[in-house]
Amino acid sequence: MIRYIASRLLLAIPTVLAVLTLVFFVVRVIPGDPATAALGDYASQEAVEALREKMGLNDPLYVQYFRFLSDLLRGDLGTSMITGKEISDLVRQVLPYTLELTITAIFIGTILGVPLGIYTARHVNTSIDYIGRVVSLAGLSVPAFYLGILIMLTFAYKIPIFPAVGGGDLTDLNSNLRHLVLPAMTLGLIMTASVTRLTRSAMLNVLKDDYVRTARAKGLSERIVVLRHALRAALVPIVSIIGVWAASLVADSVLTETVFARPGLGKMLVSAIMQRDYTLLQSVMVIYALFVVGINLITDIIYSFVDPRITH
C-alpha cells in the first residue's frame, strides 16, 4: 500500500511540472506588455522599461522560467501587479472560503447522491426512477450560476432565512456558516445530480452479477446484499466520479462566488483576468492546477482502499 502511494506521488511530479510549464507559457503569450498594463497606457517609455527590468521581463525566457519554478518552490508567489500586495497574503485570505465551499459541496453531493443512486437502482423502471432520472439530468443541465440565482431568490428573498451575498466573518462561526449554506447548496445539488446518475448505473451493472444472486440465494437480507456485496463493487466508479466532480467544483466555485459575491479563489481569478493582472493570474492558475493534481492523487489513494487489487 505504501509503495503504491509513493509511486502515485512520484508520478504526480511530472504532471505538476508539465502543468506549471503550461501556465508559465500561457501567461507569457497573453498579448500586451505586463509592465505597460501595470503602469497604464500613459506611462513614459523609461518608466515602463525600468519596471520591465525590475520584473525580470528583459531576461531570456529560460531564466524567467527557472526563476518562476524556484520562487514557487520557496512558496513565493510574487506581488500583484495592480495592487502591489503580496499574492501569498491575498491567497491566504480567500483560500479558506473556497476550501470550505468546495468541501461542503462535495459532502452534500456524496451523502445525497450515493443513497439516491442506490435507491433508484433498487426501484429501476418505476415512476420514482423516472422522476429521479429526469431530475438528475436537469441537474446536469442547469448552469451553476443559474441554480445559484434560483436558490438565492428562494432562500434569501422570498423566504429570507439566509444572507444573499458575502462570505461572512471567518472568525465568527455562526456568520460564516450562514453565508456558506446557499452557495454550498448550489454546488452540492449539482454534484448530487451527477453522483446519483452514476451510482444508479454502477449499481445496476453490479446487481445483475452472479455473486449478488448467490448472496441473495444464501438468504441474506436485501440490505446486506445491497450494502455489503453490491455497493462495495460499485464503489470504484463512484469514487472516480466524486473525484472528477471535486475538481470540477473547484472550477464552478468561480461562478457561485460571482453570484453570491463571496470572496474566494474563483473571484480572484476573474478579477485577475479582467484587470490583466498577470502575476496574480499566474499564481491563481498554479493554485488551481495544484488543486486538481492533488484531488486526482487523493482519488487514486482512495481507490486503493476501496479496491485493494488496484495496488497490484
Binding site: T15, A18, V19, L22, V23, V26, V29, I30, P31, R133, V134, L137, A138, L140, S141, V142, P143, A144, F145, Y146, I149, L150, M152, L153, Y157, A247, S248, V250, A251, D252, V254, L255, T258, V259, L269, V270, I273, M274, L281, M285, Y288, A289, V292, V293, N296
Partner: protein
C-alpha cells in the same frame, strides 16, 4: 421443369447475395426503432428542433438576403435592440410576455435571438474540438511511438484543468468575443475527442483489413483516411452530441462571467449577468434566459443519452 433441388440452390444464391444488405438495413431500422421508442430522447429531439427553429426564424434573413435589406423580426415580436426607455424593467405583460430588461428591450425577442449565439457556439466549437481531437487521436493511435507519446501526454495535461478554468485561460490569452470563445471551447473539448479517437484507432488498427491495405502498399495517410477514420467516426459523433450540451453550458458560464459576445448582441449568459443587478427588483430578467439555457442543454443531453443507449452494444442485447 425445375426440380426442388434447383429451386433450393436458386434461393440460396439469392439469399447469399442479398443477405448482407438486408441485415445492414434491418440493423439500421432496429437502431432507429430503439431510438424512437426512447421517449426521453424523442423529447430531446423535439426541444432541440424547437430551439433550432427559433434560431433560424428569429428574423426573415432568408428573404432579406435576396431583397438586399436588413432582416426584420419574424418569430421575435420586437427588434432585440429596440429600447423602450420609459418602461425599463417592466414586468411580463400582454405586450411583452417576458417583460423588459434594464434598457427597456423586449426579453422574449432577446431570448429568441439569443438562441443563435448558443447554438452557434455549441455546434461550431464541438466541430472544431472534434476535428482537432480526432486528428490528434488518429495520428497518435495510428503512428504510435514518439508521436503518440507527445500527443497523448499533451491531451492529458490539457485535461488536468477543469473545462471552465481551461476556457478562462484560453480566453485570457485570446481576449473575449464570439469567435475567440468558440475557439476556446473548441480547444477545451479537443483532448476528450483525442482520447476517444486514440483508443478507437488502436482497436481498429488491429483489424486484418488494415493489415491487408498496408501489405498492398497503401500509404499511412490513405489507410488512416479510408480504413480507420470511417470506423471511428460514429463514436465521435455520439460524443459530439453529448458535448454540444456541455459547450453550450460553458458558453453560458463564460458569458455570465463577462467574457462572451460583446453587448448589445443578445446572449443568454450575459442577459442573466445583466439581470443579477436587479435580481430582487426584476427577477424575470435573469429567470427567463436561464430557463432557455436549461431547456436547450437538457435537450442535447437527452438526445446524447438516447444516442448512447442505442449504440451501446451492452444495452442492445
Amino acid at each position: 421443369m425445375k426440380d426442388k433441388f434447383d429451386e433450393a440452390i436458386e434461393t440460396q444464391i439469392v439469399d447469399a447475395t442479398e443477405a448482407p444488405v438486408v441485415r445492414l438495413r434491418s440493423q439500421r431500422k432496429r437502431l432507429f426503432r430503439t431510438f424512437i421508442r426512447n421517449r426521453p430522447a424523442i423529447l430531446g429531439v423535439i426541444l432541440m428542433l424547437l430551439v433550432v427553429f427559433m434560431a433560424l426564424f428569429a428574423d426573415d434573413w432568408f428573404i432579406a438576403v435576396f431583397q438586399g435589406r436588413d432582416p426584420q423580426p419574424l418569430l421575435a415580436p420586437y427588434d432585440p435592440l429596440e429600447q423602450d426607455t420609459a418602461n425599463r424593467l417592466a414586468p411580463p405583460s400582454r405586450e411583452h410576455w417576458m417583460g423588459l430588461d434594464s434598457y427597456g428591450r423586449d426579453m422574449l425577442s432577446r431570448i429568441i435571438y439569443g438562441s443563435r449565439v448558443s447554438l452557434l457556439v455549441g455546434i461550431v466549437s464541438v466541430i472544431i474540438g472534434g476535428v482537432i481531437g480526432a486528428l490528434m487521436g488518429l495520428m497518435g493511435g495510428y503512428l504510435g511511438g514518439k508521436t503518440e507519446n507527445v500527443l497523448m501526454r499533451a491531451a492529458d495535461i490539457l485535461m488536468a484543468f477543469p473545462s471552465l478554468i481551461m476556457g478562462l485561460m484560453v480566453l485570457a490569452v485570446l481576449g473575449g468575443g464570439l469567435f475567440n470563445m468558440i475557439l476556446a471551447i473548441g480547444i477545451v473539448l479537443a483532448p476528450t475527442f483525442a482520447r476517444v479517437a486514440h483508443s478507437s484507432t488502436l482497436s481498429v488498427k488491429q483489424n486484418e483489413y488494415v493489415e491487408a491495405a498496408r501489405s498492398i502498399g497503401a500509404s499511412n495517410f490513405r489507410i488512416a483516411r479510408l480504413h480507420v477514420l470511417p470506423n471511428i467516426v460514429s463514436e465521435l459523433v455520439v460524443l459530439a452530441s453529448i458535448w454540444i450540451a456541455s459547450a453550450i453550458r460553458v458558453e453560458a458560464n463564460l458569458s455570465f462571467i463577462g467574457l462572451g459576445v460583446s453587448p448589445p448582441t443578445p446572449a443568454w449568459g450575459s442577459m442573466i449577468r445583466d439581470g443579477t443587478k436587479y435580481l430582487f427588483q426584476a427577477p424575470w430578467v435573469s429567470l427567463f434566459p436561464g430557463l432557455a439555457i436549461l431547456i436547450t442543454v437538457l435537450a442535447f443531453n437527452l438526445l446524447g443519452d438516447g444516442l448512447r443507449d442505442v449504440l451501446d452494444p451492452k444495452l442492445q442485447n
